[in-house]
């Protein structure tokens, strides 16, 4: 462990002291130096496995976003976590695909869900949502129910995504007896909605 400490002290772009919590070490890294830091970890310290890259939205804070890298070393059997702060007005981070190839899909996911762009990524496009989807749904200011969106090519609801009916939140039911239509307001709601649509068309 002391070995790991000394290695991390020399980490390029390190900001502040490493924080240890329950045996897990977290280091803040300068956004401009993340590629150097990752290359250093892999080539000098034997951190050969990238476990995960995650985007984080700290809504209301500044800088708002963060990218978190979990890196593991199979020879040393230890893990280190790097964090990069990403400001809202310049959401670009260097891609680390050139260091660990597995970063490809992780970075695409962070791009898809949060809109963080990765510079020099070989194929930065959406991975979960479809191409052309206009939002980044894991941002905190995006409603869980979704937003009205055009849907290319399919016939779903005449090519539209509709916000899911929430009525105050998921799992809204009224306890007790009675028909399902009475207990689940959502069910009663859509039937009315659809009747409206039928009437209109």
């Amino acid at each position: 462990m002391t070995n790991l400490q000394s290695l991390i002290t020399n980490l390029p772009g390190r900001l502040g002291e490493p924080v240890e919590f329950r045996g897990e070490v977290t280091v803040m890294v300068d956004r401009a130096k993340i590629l150097d830091a990752c290359r250093y970890l892999k080539e000098q310290c034997g951190f050969d496995m990238l476990t995960d890259i995650a985007g984080v939205d700290n809504y209301g804070e500044d800088p708002r976003y963060a990218v978190v890298y979990h890196v593991y070393s199979l020879p040393h059997r230890c893990m280190v976590r790097l964090k990069v702060a990403v400001p809202e007005d310049d959401m670009v981070v260097d891609s680390v695909v050139s260091v660990w190839r597995t970063a490809d899909w992780h970075e695409r996911e962070a791009f898809d869900m949060f809109g963080i762009r990765f510079r020099n990524h070989p194929n930065l496009k959406r991975i979960l949502m479809w191409d052309g989807y206009p939002y980044h749904p894991l941002r905190k200011d995006f409603p869980l129910a979704g937003m009205e969106t055009e849907l290319p090519e399919t016939a779903v609801g005449a090519g539209r995504v509709e916000a899911a009916p929430m009525l105050g939140g998921p799992f809204v039911t009224t306890p007790g007896a009675g028909t399902a239509a009475r207990r689940e307001p959502r069910q009663a709601d859509t039937s009315a909605e659809r009747a409206d649509k039928k009437g209109a068309s």
């Binding site: 979960l128 949502m129 479809w130 939002y135 749904p137 995006f142 409603p143 869980l144 129910a145 979704g146 937003m147 849907l151 090519e153 399919t154 016939a155 779903v156 609801g157 995504v161 509709e162 916000a163 899911a164 009916p165 929430m166 998921p170 799992f171 959502r186 069910q187 859509t190």
Partner: protein
Amino acid sequence: MSDPVVIGVDQKIESRDLIVTRLDAAVDWCRKNSVWPMPMGLACCAIELMAAGASRFDIARFGAEVMRFSPRQSDLMIVAGTCVYKMAGVVKRVWDQMAEPKWCIAMGACASTGGMYRSYAVVQGVDRFLPVDVYISGCPPRPEALLEGLMALQRKIQQEAALKNMKRSDQRGGLYAMPQGPVIVRGEYAPQMGDRRLEIGGRK
């Protein structure tokens, strides 16, 4: 001759016997006992669909054991699972490739209404883009519920005006009589954890 005759596999038709029936009834009878499903297994419900096909529940008893993974050869699309918007186009395309006459079962809460996924990614019920004939409640429905849904569909097929629909192939679902519209199956099947079960497991 005025008594209605129920034809079943357990009755022997002697060579000299004569059956008089409507052609519609005969065609419907053939169709309803040879429904070939297109298993559109999208999520966990598909596991129950597989169980319904296996020996314990044995969907073959209803003539529906031939799961066809080609839409050209199947009559019934069983949408078993959560359908997201990204998948909806694929499901719709497969449905469009199926030849008439065709039917659709929405199996489980997700396929019927979006289920517990009130979210930006999930289609809130496959009936937004497919004409669903039978909805099956449950999360997941037990295989018995799927079988009940299949039986409900068979009753529905038996009511159809088969010959009329052949001429108007663009229009589906002309019915002679009830049931009108979709059938909703509320399967409430709790597992029976009685003594017999334990004996089968050999652990009692």
